[in-house]
């Protein structure tokens, strides 16, 4: 009987029972939620009502600013220096000083105590509007109201519709596709490395512990390696599932407990969004992008989820088997670094390329999504924008083939490496072990 299940059992439970497993499983979703919620919360907390003193050298802007819930404009008389002093004394939150003559579209915003991040944007928006109105008037002799009518009647609406091979049409959101693709790619990268690295660390540890000789006198090195790889894979799947579940629960919980945050964000959307990057994500979710429900629903969810699983699994299996082999060749983690970097380079480069490449369907990305070492990331990036079935199948076939090859290679290295001590191994030597 194969002893792989016994090894899987140990590898799985020894990890799952560890405190660090429970902590990371809980902490990751908490941090993720915190990353979304806290900036929004802070942005809102600090978003109090502000008073701005306006001093316009040309007197053009006087009484033209619109008072809103968040900003109140006042136009006191006096020199700029005296206004600044009043600002320091706390009479206002900021002083807007609009420069004279040809610089009349330029201004300085003086403050003593830091005002909410959004203030600068709000002031700029209003100034822009007033200046725009003036230009319309001066050049085209129309006012803002007329302009709005012109703008509305001359606005077009272009919907992106993707036609797949069967002639089926689906509305698509190119930006959404790319963001989802990128997130999936980065997640794959992250998880593949995290778990493959665990396999390597544990190989090194067993070697350093000297338990390895006892074990491989009972089981074949190949069984030992596979048991370890599968055991860690199960840990990964469990942890991932738990984190997703927890994140979903937390997200609903937060939405339920703090509805104010979310509703207000939607209303105050543009302003808050400009404040922080995280808040920007909120705007995307609550505002413009998801509003196109049809695009959301026609999104290839099933394909994405299935492929995410396949590419995560085989991406992990490839790198875990390589890392197991390399880990067995070294006695300590410092020595293993020389092998890790070249092996992980394809993944790192893919992340860099897809985040810079203009199109999800460029020739370069296409190739990367077929080449096995880079495909787990590149293909996931492409899937939301649609991938021909044959390319997907070719890519998966190559991936599985590479996995078998990597296991075969690593098993050879593993067998020799496990009992090799005190020697710094080179690539050349590894190759000799493979041919042995």
């Amino acid at each position: 009987m194969s002893k792989i299940p016994i090894i899987i059992e140990r590898e799985f439970f020894s990890r799952v029972k560890k405190k660090s497993f429970i902590i990371t499983t809980l902490l990751m979703p908490l941090m993720l939620i915190a990353l979304i919620v806290i900036p929004v919360y802070i942005a809102q907390k600090t978003d109090k009502e502000c008073t701005v003193f306006v001093l316009d050298e040309n007197d053009y802007f006087i009484n033209k600013f619109e008072n809103t819930e968040k900003v109140r404009f006042e136009y006191p008389s006096g020199e700029i220096e005296s206004l600044k002093k009043r600002c320091i004394d706390g009479e206002c939150d900021a002083v807007l000083h609009i420069l004279s003559g040809s610089q009349s579209n330029q201004a300085n915003l003086y403050y003593h105590e830091e005002p909410p991040l959004s203030l600068e944007g709000r002031v700029t928006d209003q100034m822009d509007k007033i200046l725009f109105d003036r230009t319309l008037m001066d050049t085209f002799h129309i006012d803002l109201k007329k302009y709005e009518i012109i703008k509305q009647t001359s606005q077009s609406s272009v919907a992106a519709v993707q036609i797949d091979a069967d002639g089926q049409e689906r509305a698509s959101m190119m930006i959404l596709n790319r963001i989802v693709g990128l997130i999936c790619g980065v997640l794959i990268y992250f998880f593949v490395f995290m778990y493959a690295n665990q396999v390597m660390r544990s190989s090194i540890e067993e070697k350093a512990n000297r338990i390895v000789e006892i074990i491989i006198s009972s089981v074949k090195p190949f069984e030992f390696m596979m048991g370890k790889i599968i055991g860690v894979a199960l840990v990964g799947i469990l942890q991932f599932a738990m984190q997703i579940a927890l994140a979903v629960v937390l997200l609903f919980g937060v939405q339920f407990l703090l509805p104010a945050i979310f509703s207000e964000t939607t209303v105050a959307g543009p302003d808050v969004a400009s404040a922080t990057a995280a808040a920007e994500t909120m705007q995307i979710q609550n505002g413009s992008l998801f509003s196109d429900i049809s695009a959301f629903y026609s999104f290839p969810f099933t394909t994405l989820i299935i492929c995410f699983f396949i590419y995560f699994l085989f991406g992990y299996l490839i790198y875990a088997s390589l890392f197991a082999g390399l880990g067995s060749a070294t006695d300590n983690e410092t020595d293993s670094n020389q092998f890790v970097l070249p092996v992980s380079l394809p993944l790192i480069l893919t992340i860099m390329i897809i985040s810079m490449e203009a199109s999800a369907q460029s020739t370069l990305v296409k190739w990367l999504s077929i080449i096995p070492f880079t495909s787990p990331i590149a293909m996931l990036y492409r899937i939301p924008s649609g991938v021909p079935l044959w390319e997907l199948l070719l890519s998966i076939a190559l991936l599985v083939g590479t996995f078998i090859l990597c296991v075969w290679l690593s098993a050879k290295i593993y067998r020799t490496g496990l009992l090799m001590y005190g020697k710094k191994v080179t690539w050349k030597e590894l190759w000799r072990w493979v041919r042995m």
Binding site: K3, S14, N209, V219
Partner: protein, 302 residues
């Protein structure tokens, strides 16, 4: 009946020949000392016997059939470089190792508990390995080696790291295993323990067996015709025949002991005869065989 037959086994590593056509039989039910200088090929041989490494050529027979992977369930191996998972509980650890040797979980637990009681270490059952001292860990490893009741055991430097009391316990355990019918290979540099418990030895050097056989027979092969004779009173050695060379003379109140080397194949009885003729009362007479230490040095030195 031989439990192991090694036939012309060769193993080459990248730049050195570890085993060079080694042939050796290990008889059943005996304690077999595997000796040899560092780098002689002992560890490689042991790893071939435990199915960790495959020979490049040659064959190993176990109970008469070619050694195969399944046989490891009938082999117990305590490597020289041995360790345990530090973070694991002692019980989980030993049960895991026993299961890898083919025992079921229940059977492993039952037998291990018995062993822990025998050694009086029940209280360690739920402790973590890292909490135990090195000697304690060695005991655990010993138990893990024998728990599946293999009939063939290999101990590589089993006494290293043990204090004299524990070393003695271990020695008794090894002898007990032999009584129960197990065959034991003992690989060690500790020649005193070899003399004490081994029935047979093989001396390996440069990947070959240079000497093997029953331990006293091997020692006899290296005899230097050295005898020790004890007589009452004093003795005048000046008139001994020239074939009898006195190597050492120890005299106390009423006895004299002589170490005498007999040259040119002269029978030892002539010495006795001569002394009796001289009216000496002989109280003891025996041959001094070389120690295993001397045999080792002499054999390897040549």
């Amino acid at each position: 009946m031989n439990i192991i037959e090694i036939k012309d086994v060769t193993k080459k590593f990248s730049n050195q020949l570890a085993l060079d056509g080694l042939t050796l039989d290990i008889p059943e039910g005996r304690i077999f000392g595997l000796l040899g200088p560092n780098g002689a090929g002992k560890t490689t041989l042991i790893r071939i016997l435990t199915h960790i490494t495959m020979p490049d050529s040659g064959q190993v027979f176990f109970h008469g059939h070619p050694l195969e992977a399944k046989d490891v369930e009938n082999i117990g191996y305590l490597p020289e470089e041995r360790g345990l998972y530090k973070k694991m509980k002692v019980s989980e650890q030993v049960v895991y190792l026993a299961r890898l040797r083919g025992l079921s979980k229940q059977e492993a637990t039952r037998r291990l508990k018995e062993w822990f009681q025998r050694f009086g270490i029940d209280s360690w059952w739920n402790r973590r390995v890292e909490e135990l001292s090195k000697g304690m860990q060695q005991k655990i490893q010993f138990i893990a080696t024998v728990v599946h009741q293999p009939d063939f055991l290999i101990f590589d430097e089993p006494f290293s790291g043990f204090d004299p009391v524990n070393a003695e316990t271990l020695k008794q355990e090894i002898l007990r295993l032999k009584e129960q019918g197990a065959t034991v290979i003992l690989s060690t540099h500790n020649m005193a323990s070899v003399e004490e418990i081994c029935d047979e030895i093989a001396l390996v050097n440069h990947g070959r067996v240079i000497l093997n056989g029953e331990i006293n027979e091997v020692r006899r092969r290296f005899r230097q015709h050295l005898y020790r004779i004890t007589v009452e009173g004093d003795i005048d050695t000046s008139n001994l025949p020239s074939d009898f060379q006195v190597v050492k003379k120890e005299k106390n109140d009423n006895e004299t002991a002589l170490n005498i080397q007999i040259l040119n194949g002269t029978p030892s009885n002539l010495l006795l005869q001569h002394l009796i003729e001289q009216q000496h009362t002989i109280t003891a007479f025996h041959e001094i065989l070389p120690s295993m230490n001397e045999v080792f040095i002499k054999a390897v030195g040549n």
